[in-house]
Amino acid sequence: MDLLRFITAGSVDDGKSTLIGRLLYDSKNILIDQLEALEKSTKNRTDGSVDLALLTDGLRAEREQGITIDVAYRYFTTPKRKFIIADAPGHVQYTRNMITGASNANLIIILVDARQGVVEQTRRHSIIASLLKIPHVVVAINKMDLVEYLEDVYNNIVIDYANVAKQLGLKDVIYIPISALNGDNIVDKSTAIDWYMGKPLLELLEEVEIDNDINLTDARFQVQLVIRPQTDDLHDYRGYAGKVISGIYKKGDKVTVLPAGIETTISKLEVGGEEVEEVFAPQSVVIQLADDIDISRGDAITKVDNQPQVNNELEVLLCWLDDKPLVPGNKYYLQHNSRLVRAVVKQIDYKLDVNSLDQQPVEGNVKLNEVVKATIKTAAPLVFDNYEKISANGSGILVDETSNSTVAAVLFK
């Protein structure tokens, strides 16, 4: 059984939390006491229905305001798959929390209210999906019950969204008409939407092919820490612990240690203390090398015949996530997986308009939720790839030196 991570996105009140509640409820993943608590907290509602959104809105402020502020993670399993759901907030001001949930997702469900059609937040979240290269996109046209389940309404929204998808380069978008509230096309095929020939949502989620989401071609590895037990029996043991970011490594492979550029050979591979012949992404492993080389945290081990970029000047897209604006020329820490280097944002070339995707000039500072193209200079070279080629080796964060906050998502060009 494998694991699918997905996120629900879309504007406020489009029904994200309700959809998740419905998925859990109809797939029998809600237990009695959780249901009782739900019924209790819904008691003072006038219409007497249970509010499925309350299953994920876990903070007091969220329940009070009836909105989602931060991502909630929910888990459910069917006989076919294990799922991790990120329920993301829809408000513009909480976009950074949405990006948190989106960054690890294999799939995004973008909800659209059938009465409203494609709105600004639909576009904004679609742009995030496209920037982050979320491999699979499902557009769920929700609240079909409020438009009498009309096929025309659905078709018009599909045409509208197809334009957005084309502009953003989103491929293989799957469309589905649903009512999260009534459970139409969620677990079972809706009888009210008999004109829809596709599968219900859960079946789509169970069957979407995710094997190819991991790059097994280009081998990348970064050292998290060096294991040196220094005991009598393991006196000379020196293992490089880290995660295989992408690709496959085999014992005997000729490798280059970067950024130093020293060549050597893999002498031993271990997983959880057991020796193995080969390792692959996303395993956590230990690599031992034939030669004694000075290697520390953040260094990369790659294959001689397949090299990443090594540079201390980077062209990047920045999604700004902090209330404090980005001041060009300011210094930050850039964290690229386990490598932490000082960095300065040298130049900001343009800003992406989240509605039109047009490139616009930047006047003044870069503010919360803005996406800009910038040039970053780092104090030491980085070993990286283009985000579109190997996302796991093409992404980083900026950390404010003074507040220690994570202030930006960085996508390498």
């Binding site: 059984m1 494998d2 694991l3 237990l31 009695i32 006491d33 608590a37 907290s41 299953l55 994920t56 809105d57 876990g58 903070l59 007091r60 402020a61 329940r63 502020i69 931060d70 991502v71 909630a72 993670y73 929910r74 888990y75 294990k82 991790i84 929390n97 948190t100 960054s103 094997d211 097994l216 998290q224 820490l225 294991i227 037990p229 393991l234 043991y237 293992g239 612990a241 880290g242 995660k243 271990e270 959880g272 203390g273 992404a281 996303p282 395993q283 956590s284 820490y333 964290q335 997986n337 386990s338 996302s391 796991a392 992404s395 980083g396 964060i397 950390v399 220690n404 994570t406 998502a409």
Partner: protein
């Protein structure tokens, strides 16, 4: 499907090991908070794998409420010895004396709330900059909202409105002096994942997780073990039942489940078919208010 494919347990394991290694590399004085339950036993197992063949590079810290199951304490000492880890124990009893705290009263006098004081004192005493815990997001709604690296201020407080974005697998553990980070490596595991992993890896557990006979009283439909810490009322009927524990916390606030399951397979089958959540079935103190956990976390609790 290719050979280069992880199943969900292997993927979760890889993620947890990655998190452990980030902790060891990013912090100067991390500690693993060990409660004696299956989640923290799983944590220790994962930590062992993360640093093999070296030893676990941080101490196991137990905040001892004094209301533990003796079986859990025996197991704790055995495990620390087995993995060759330093075990540090700090007692809530001592904090109560030193700080003249008021002990909760009642039938099941839970020290769960008082633990926070001892925890914060212990963090201060050893200058821990990171505490690793075995909380899972499927346990509770407030936990479902917390980051894997959760920054706490000088008072140990969680501020749910000021959580750092946590992108991809990049964990930002930078903090100011006096702050600390709580790290939850098994955030994405469910109760059933833990049990399946325990079975797959053949991880040992304290005997109380399996069916045994015990004197219990019934309290609002839950079975509570008789012990010196519980004050039964005159009309309570003490009976002997075959029970097991689904979680292991304090004797005063953990309920037993009636069960004859004596092997891992049997326990897992029961958990698959149960209709009640882990917390709902076994925690006596958590049903108070809907925001109980959020409030406690804001005050420095795990």
């Amino acid at each position: 499907m290719s050979n280069y494919h992880l199943n969900y347990l292997e993927e979760l394991e890889a993620e947890s090991i990655y998190i452990f290694r980030e902790v060891a590399a990013q912090f100067e004085r991390p500690a693993l908070l060990f409660s004696g339950g299956k989640d923290s036993i799983t944590l220790v197992h994962l930590a062992k794998k993360a640093f093999a063949p070296g030893k676990i590079p941080f101490p196991l810290v137990h905040i001892d409420t004094g209301h533990n199951f003796p079986e859990a304490l025996t197991f704790r000492d055995w495990l620390a010895n087995e993995v060759n880890a330093t075990l540090t124990v700090r007692k809530v009893e001592d904090t109560i004396k030193q700080r003249s705290l008021t002990e909760p009263k009642g039938k099941f006098p839970s020290r769960n709330w008082l633990q926070t004081y001892t925890l914060l004192d212990t963090i201060e005493e050893f200058k821990f900059d990171c505490c690793i815990g075995g909380a899972r997001r499927d346990e509770e709604k407030a936990r479902a909202k917390e980051r894997i690296f959760s920054v706490r201020d000088e008072f140990g407080q969680w501020n749910p409105k000021l959580q750092r974005p946590e992108l991809w697998n990049i964990y930002n553990g930078r903090i100011h002096k006096g702050e600390n980070v709580r790290v939850f490596p098994i955030s994405n595991w469910t109760e059933l994942d833990i049990w399946n992993y325990i079975r797959k890896e053949n991880i040992g557990l304290p005997s109380i997780y399996f069916s045994h006979e015990r004197e219990v009283i019934e309290h609002e439909g839950q079975l509570v073990a008789m012990s010196e810490y519980v004050q039964p009322s005159a009309d309570d009927i003490i009976t002997t039942k075959k029970v097991r524990y689904r979680t292991v916390g304090d004797m005063t606030c953990t309920a037993a489940v009636e069960s004859t399951a004596s092997t891992l397979d049997e326990v897992i089958n029961e958990i698959i078919s149960t209709k009640i959540s882990e917390r709902g079935e076994t925690r006596i103190d958590d049903r108070v208010t809907e925001a109980a956990m959020e409030d406690r976390k804001k005050n420095g609790y795990f």
